[in-house]
């Protein structure tokens, strides 16, 4: 019988539940974003996020089961995001998942959030072949990874300070845009003039695949204060910021393509929704005989559908667990999954 997995995501400020069937694909995905809750604070407040998850998740779980026309009897396992992320937020989803699974006698799969992002393109009609390169770019992460298969991840490079999404949000704040400003900054950039502002592209002057985006804040802060910010100047600065971030990501990706010989590239995570990045990657890879694979826009940001993909694949591999400890890890290196595989 085809496996069917219920998945719960609560690692940051999205509460989400999805149902995925091995043969029929994604049956439902329900999501509540807490963006409005955190806006007044200029960023995610962990305690408020945890409190809200606990109110949202069970109604979302009921909704996801109903929309999937699925009863608990039809499930084969329960997946939940176990890290990395806000530990209090993760624990709400973990407690709900373990309790539900225990009552139903179902195995649990503790999913690595970033593995979810990496595997999200498998939800699409044309999934990427293995091995491939992955550019994982979100508010919390900026990584280039060689993906040989499930649980076979080689970290080629990552950010030394701010993540790409963080750089978008923080510079947007300097331009007076409300939290989370990244998407709004990208919108303003469309009307900005290329080259009006040229911001630094750190780490390009030396070899390697590491990133650094923290210097961008200082440069943008200086530019924003030099003269009064009218619409035109704001658009131009936004364009300069986006160009600096996207250009850096593209050039590092190009290096990784050259270093690995892999021309199929997955881009995932919230910044993966950025149109300039998507277009730039498509052009870059076409010229090298490869292509870019990305999840649909709604599955670039945090969601439970991607957690269900990772959960289903691991359940299929016999990694469902009846362990009763409710666990969550704030820190969890992606490459630990490789060890897990070898020690399992």
């Amino acid at each position: 019988m085809a496996l069917r997995v219920l998945a719960i995501e609560s690692s940051c400020d999205e509460s989400a539940v999805a149902v995925l069937d091995e043969e029929r694909g994604l049956l439902s995905h329900a999501l509540f974003s807490q963006i409005e809750l955190h806006r007044a604070y200029g960023g995610v407040v962990p305690e408020l996020a945890s409190r809200d998850h606990l109110r949202r998740l069970l109604p979302l779980l009921r909704q996801a089961l109903a929309e999937a026309d699925t009863t608990p009897e039809q499930l084969s396992g329960v997946a939940h995001t176990a890290g990395p992320g806000l530990v209090g937020a993760l624990l709400t989803g973990a407690a709900l998942a373990r309790g539900f699974a225990f009552s139903r006698g179902l195995p649990v799969i503790a999913v690595h959030h970033l593995e979810g992002h990496l595997l999200a393109p498998l939800l699409e009609d044309e999934p990427p072949p293995f091995p491939h390169l992955a550019l994982l770019v979100s508010g919390g992460h900026t990584m280039l990874i060689r993906v040989a298969g499930l649980g076979e991840y080689e970290l080629l490079g990552e950010t030394r300070d701010d993540a790409a999404g963080e750089a978008f949000d923080k510079t947007a704040k300097l331009l007076g845009l409300p939290y989370p400003g990244g998407p709004e900054l990208a919108r303003l950039a469309r009307d900005g003039r290329a080259g009006a502002f040229v911001f630094p592209r750190p780490m390009l002057d030396r070899p390697g695949l590491e990133f650094s985006f923290s210097g961008l804040k200082t440069a943008v802060s200086l530019a924003a204060r030099a003269q009064p910010l009218d619409d035109r100047r704001r658009n131009d600065i936004a364009r300069g910021v986006q160009d600096a971030i996207v250009d850096t990501l593209l050039r590092k990706t190009a290096r990784a393509v050259e270093a690995t010989g892999l021309v199929d590239v997955v881009v995932s995570g919230g910044v993966g929704a950025n149109l300039a990045l998507r277009t730039g990657l498509a052009t870059l890879l076409r010229s090298r005989g490869g292509r870019v694979y990305h999840p649909r826009i709604e599955f670039c940001t945090d969601n439970a559908a991607m957690i269900a993909v990772a959960g289903l694949l691991r359940l299929k591999r016999g990694e469902g667990s009846f362990d009763l400890a409710i666990t969550a890890r704030a820190q969890w290196p992606l490459t630990d999954l490789n060890q897990d595989r070898h020690t399992a």
């Binding site: 109110r55 069970l58 624990l91 973990a94 407690a95 225990f102 409710i326």
Partner: protein, 233 residues
């Protein structure tokens, strides 16, 4: 009538099964391991009683106040267990559970203060009148305040404080504060922490009173809700 009860609000992690007045208990002190320990306790109790989840009538849990993370572990787990087994839930106050622990000390009608250390120089507390058969009547709402404010809020009521009964680790904090009234140490349980035993007993009382609710009602009562300041933007 059969209940499962959980409590992870404090320095105890506990689970209990209640059947017709009898309580089976698993309980251990822990500072950080509640999330790892509580579900194995549930499994062990069910195995000993040879029950399955669906044979239960409801799940009672300590809904706070207490450690924020602990409260969410109990509430989230209760939601999942209850939804999975098609059971209702019974949210039980951890202050009321503390008061219940001191019930043997308190003749009917005497005041009983349940008081937990809320950290940050504050206390969670409620004042009860000792009851018959678990029907605790609270003279005050559950509150969060400083020890000095507690003395002020009790005001005239504190005049006969030498007769008061009390339970909870907040008592020591209160008594060490300025102008705290004299209490009789023999009438206090200063080391008491809420346990699933009393959560079960009080859950049974609430069950009989028709207070069972759907699983979504398994949410904490934190009392401390002022946890973030809007940014000055």
């Amino acid at each position: 009538m059969k209940l499962l009860a959980l409590d992870t609000a404090s320095g105890l992690c506990s689970a209990a099964l209640y059947v017709d007045g009898e309580v089976m208990l698993r309980e251990t002190p822990t500072t950080r391991e509640h999330a790892r320990l509580v579900l194995p306790m549930v499994q062990s109790l069910l195995a000993e009683a040879q029950w399955s989840m669906v044979q239960l009538d409801a799940i009672a849990f300590g809904r706070g106040p207490g450690s924020f993370t602990g409260l969410r572990v109990a509430a989230g787990l209760t939601q999942g267990l209850a939804f999975g087994a098609g059971l209702p839930v019974l949210p039980v106050s951890d202050l009321r559970a503390l008061a219940q622990q001191a019930a043997a000390l308190a003749p009917v009608g005497t005041p009983l203060l349940a008081c937990m250390d809320a950290r940050m120089h504050e206390l969670y507390w409620a004042l009860y009148e000792a009851p018959l058969a678990g029907q605790w009547v609270s003279d005050t709402a559950e509150q969060l305040c400083t020890p000095v404010q507690l003395t002020q809020r009790l005001g005239v009521a504190a005049a006969g404080s030498a007769q008061w009964r009390g339970a909870g680790m907040g008592l020591a904090v209160w008594l060490a504060s300025e102008a705290a009234p004299p209490l009789n140490p023999a009438l206090l349980l200063p080391a008491a922490e809420p346990s699933a035993r009393e959560i079960a007993l009080l859950g049974a009382v609430d069950w009989s009173a028709g207070k069972a609710q759907p699983p979504e009602a398994a949410v904490p009562v934190y009392l401390r809700d002022d946890v973030a300041r809007p940014s000055a933007q």
